[in-house]
């Protein structure tokens, strides 16, 4: 694949963004269907090129396109370029593929929105940023795209900016991820300083791999850098404790959620850890990564148990599944984590799009006003059931295989290597699997089964009765299947949710597909990725050194570890039984009525309240930290400092300059001779200065 083609993967959506944002919006208006077609065409082009890139990588191994000079001043040499390795290729296909389906679906979902053009413009920008993120070769380049992803997600979450809640959610998402990005930036800065006294350009990711492989970075140094990068990942992937933005981000259009909260933006954090996996392996933060991931997996799932909004259920499940991936990376299960990312992208996008379809019919996202939709929308129902089964991890859907690999590796870590963290991850994974199955089927049963409860009209009616403000975002109720434009992506994603798990990474050889094909593909690299390219002649001597270390490369081993876990019948059985148990429990509570949800809620009212209030994290962050600690103390102190010092100094300074100016104004008295005198004095000063210091 030639380099211009590789750049075109990013370039096409960028072109769509620019055209939509400028020419098309100005000439064809803010509701033109052309905007949608243009973005779809651009993303389709990217998708085709991504598939080409994937086949290219599969056939010929990864390609490192040459670096280009970006900024070159003394002490700062920055390059940029495309790194097309296995991870990138998979991410490219996932991102552009899901994006394509979502764009297609959005034609109907966003139909008639008064900012249709703006929507497609931002979607193109977002897709371009994400594609740029995964292809970045330089960490600074990566950071730029990372921030572009952040800003375009801000624009998309706050797409309906006339709703205060959407504007607040966008702001929250932006600020919360900013906390993480701050750490990311610190990590980059530290890496930058380390780079000053290390041969080779560490900002260039392949070179970084090379240097780490040769043991060029001390564990303590790697720890700090990895910690910073992990902070960025925590923010972007909504891990505990920066998880609160993601459920709120559901204020954006559902198609946006399907794109950025399933396959793209939130997985950027996982991608970041995967991209710098060698660095994490060389550091001491792996256990922290695993623990944060494990905690988030259970913690987020528990909040999903009681959420009433179907999109929030999906949001919590996303956080939980991201926790799965992160903990997998933490225990060194690189390939399983990427595998789970891959499968999760499809079924979660499908579920979100299904939620959008449900909203299309019922006009609301509140599950308590749904029910009985199964009869009206068969396609949506079945695709969502498939997605939920896959998410719950039921044999033989794709979610089962990826989740099982993570659990198996965790088990191996615990039993074979005797690591406590392995057991913790295993328990957390099983617990999360149980809860996931329960809340997903709670959602399915509440939405599609039982009696219809009135949809948007009923919700508005109830709000009026209880003197509550009318809920925002309610649509019209027309209980029928969504148009084919929306159903087709659902079907495609459901099909992927069924088959992709086993077919891509099968246990035995299946026809032309080799055993563990996906894991092999992700982890086995040909050597040229680690060929040291000299790093702009920074240190010639290092070239030889790299050659001598050629056979000491440990990276493939690090990545390869846990790539092909042996299928473990007990683990698979336990997780399947737990998932089935969760589904049965949901059935018992919401269909057969053996256990009354209301009674459960009363009996465990304390727990229920805590869960429903999301562990009071919003209250903690907003009430305690933001208002009391920050406004009350820090901001107060800063205000005092600002008024008494900064302002005062400014006032005095301005007085001083004012007086000085008035004094100077007297100098300009219109007397020519006074001017001449000043000139003469200046002349004398220059003359004597020249006599004293000159020559």
């Amino acid at each position: 694949m030639s380099e211009p083609l590789a750049w075109l993967i990013i370039g096409l959506p960028v072109a769509a963004f620019l055209l939509n944002g400028t020419v098309i919006r100005a000439w064809l208006g803010s509701q033109t269907l052309v905007a949608g077609w243009l973005t779809i065409a651009a993303v389709a082009g990217s998708f085709v090129l991504s598939v080409l890139a994937l086949t290219d990588v599969a056939n010929n191994g990864e390609t490192l396109y040459e670096t280009h000079e970006w900024i070159s001043i003394v002490g700062l040499e920055l390059t940029f370029g495309i790194m097309l390795d296995q991870l990138t290729a998979i991410m490219l296909v996932v991102v552009s593929g899901v994006s394509l389906l979502v764009q297609f679906y959005s034609q109907q979902y966003m139909h008639g929105d008064r900012s249709y053009t703006r929507y497609y413009s931002f979607m193109a920008l977002f897709t371009a940023s994400m594609l740029g993120l995964v292809t970045s070769r330089n960490i600074i380049q990566l950071f730029v795209f990372w921030e572009l992803v952040g800003v375009s997600s801000y624009l998309l979450i706050g797409f309906w900016m006339e709703r205060p809640s959407a504007a607040a959610a966008a702001k929250k998402a932006f600020l919360m991820t900013r906390f993480g990005d701050f750490g990311f930036l610190l990590g980059i800065l530290y890496l930058f300083f380390v780079n000053q006294d290390t041969p080779g350009d560490l900002l260039d990711i392949p070179t970084l791999y090379e240097v780490i492989g040769a043991g060029g970075i001390a564990a303590s140094v790697a720890t700090w850098i990895a910690l910073g990068l992990f902070m960025g990942a925590v923010g972007k992937s909504a891990q505990f404790p920066l998880h609160t933005w993601l459920p709120d981000a559901m204020e954006g259009p559902t198609s946006v959620s399907a794109l950025i909260h399933s396959a793209t933006m939130v997985t950027a954090g996982v991608f970041l850890v995967a991209r710098f996996f060698p660095l994490f392996e060389a550091s001491n933060v792996s256990d922290l990564v695993a623990l944060i991931g494990a905690f988030t997996a259970v913690f987020a799932a528990s909040m999903g148990l009681v959420a009433k909004d179907i999109k929030r259920v999906l949001a919590y499940s996303t956080v939980s599944q991201l926790g799965y991936m992160v903990m997998a990376l933490g225990i060194g299960a690189y390939a399983p984590a990427i595998f789970h990312l891959f499968t999760h992208a499809f079924f979660k996008a499908g579920l979100f799009l299904g939620a959008g379809s449900v909203h299309h019919a019922s006009g609301t996202f509140n599950m308590t006003y749904m029910g009985g939709l199964r009869k009206n929308m068969k396609w949506t129902y079945w695709t969502m059931v498939i997605g939920s089964l896959s998410l719950a991890g039921l044999f033989p859907l794709s979610g089962f295989w990826s989740k099982d690999e993570i659990l198996t590796v965790a088990f191996e870590r615990g039993s074979d290597d005797g690591l406590a963290v392995g057991w913790i991850v295993l328990v957390a994974g099983l617990l999360a699997a149980l809860m996931t199955a329960f809340y997903m089927f709670r959602a399915i049963f509440m939405t599609f089964h039982g009696e219809y409860k009135g949809g948007a009209e009923a919700e508005a009616e109830d709000a009026r009765k209880n003197n509550l403000p009318e809920p925002v975002g309610l649509g019209h109720t027309h209980r029928q299947e969504s148009p084919w434009v929306m159903v087709a992506p659902l079907v495609i994603l459901a099909a992927l949710a069924i088959g992709v798990g086993f077919l891509v990474n099968p246990l035995p050889d299946v026809g032309p597909i080799k055993k563990h094909a996906f894991a092999t593909f992700v982890t086995v690299r040909n050597d040229n990725v680690f060929v040291y390219e000299g790093g702009h002649g920074k240190d010639e001597a290092h070239d030889d050194e790299a050659d001598t270390h050629a056979d000491e490369r440990q990276l493939p081993d690090a990545i390869h570890a846990g790539a092909e876990p042996e299928f473990s019948i007990p683990i698979a059985t336990i997780s399947s039984v737990l998932a089935a148990g969760g589904i049965l429990l949901a059935y018992a509570m919401y269909i057969s009525g053996v256990i009354s949800p209301a009674a459960m809620g009363r009996r465990f009212s304390a727990i229920y309240t805590v869960l429903f209030r999301k562990y009071y994290f919003d209250e903690l962050y907003e009430g305690e930290i933001t208002i009391k600690a920050f406004y009350g103390r820090v901001a107060k102190f800063l205000a005092w400092f600002d008024i008494t010092w900064i302002d005062n100094v400014n006032v005095q300074l301005s007085k001083l300059t004012g007086n000085f100016g008035r004094g100077l104004a007297n100098v300009q008295n219109g007397q020519t001779q006074a001017y001449a005198a000043v000139m003469a004095i200046g002349f004398v000063i220059v003359l004597f200065a020249f006599l004293v210091w000159g020559s």
Binding site: Q673, A677, A680, I681, F683, V684, L687, F688, L691
Partner: protein, 220 residues
């Protein structure tokens, strides 16, 4: 003037006398209350300066000085003084005298220090004829025979046979200066002509009686 005459010290003596007279006249110009008297002293100072030019073997410049300054500028100023009645009652006393004296004294000191502390002999590189010719314009390299101190071969070089070289000093160089003005420096020469015309026209424009001038003098 011949060598012995110059070496005899008479030139030096004459220089100091002339300089003293010139400086004295200049001092009178800037101190005397009556502006008309100042104009007269100015004319005297101009004559002194032209004498210095003659002593520096710059006959042409000296004559120009007399013609332009003594003959024209002084007379012009004298007439102006007489036409402006206000002046005849005498210039107001000078102001900021001590400050001005200080500044002037500092300038003299600086010039004197510079003059006496600098090695004024030309750098060998700068005396390279090619370099100098490059400064002056087109490069014409032809050696002149200076037999008996008189330049003999001058065909087409803009140097008149009158110009005499004597112990490193050029005499009777008027013709050569004319050649320089009309050859190498013809462009500045014409430009100066333009400047003078512009000054003339500007002066006329300023002095032209204004018709229909409204009674809003000083109103802006």
């Amino acid at each position: 003037m011949n060598e012995t005459f110059e070496a005899s010290g008479i030139v030096t003596f004459a220089f100091w006398v002339t300089s003293a007279i010139t400086i004295a006249a200049a001092v009178m110009v800037v101190t005397v209350r009556d502006v008309f008297k100042a104009a007269v002293f100015l004319a005297g100072s101009f004559i002194g300066v032209s004498a210095i030019f003659f002593l520096l073997n710059a006959e042409f410049v000296g004559v120009v000085q007399i013609l332009v300054y003594v003959g024209a500028v002084s007379i012009l100023i004298a007439f102006s003084v007489m036409m402006i009645t206000d002046v005849s009652r005498g210039s107001q006393p000078s102001r900021a005298r001590y400050a001005s004296v200080t500044v002037a004294a500092l300038v003299v000191a600086a010039i004197a220090i510079t003059a006496y502390n600098t090695d004024w002999t030309l750098n060998e590189d700068l005396t390279d004829p090619a370099a100098i010719a490059g400064l002056a314009g087109e490069f014409v390299e032809e050696e002149l025979e200076s037999g008996e101190g008189r330049i003999t071969s001058t065909d087409g070089l803009g140097i008149t046979p009158d110009t005499v070289v004597q112990t490193g000093v050029l005499h009777d160089s008027t013709g050569t200066i004319g050649g320089l003005l009309l050859r190498e420096f013809v462009l500045p020469f014409e430009t100066v002509g333009l400047v003078i015309v512009a000054a003339l026209i500007g002066g006329l424009a300023l002095m032209r009686p204004r018709r229909h001038e409204p009674d809003s003098r000083g109103g802006g």
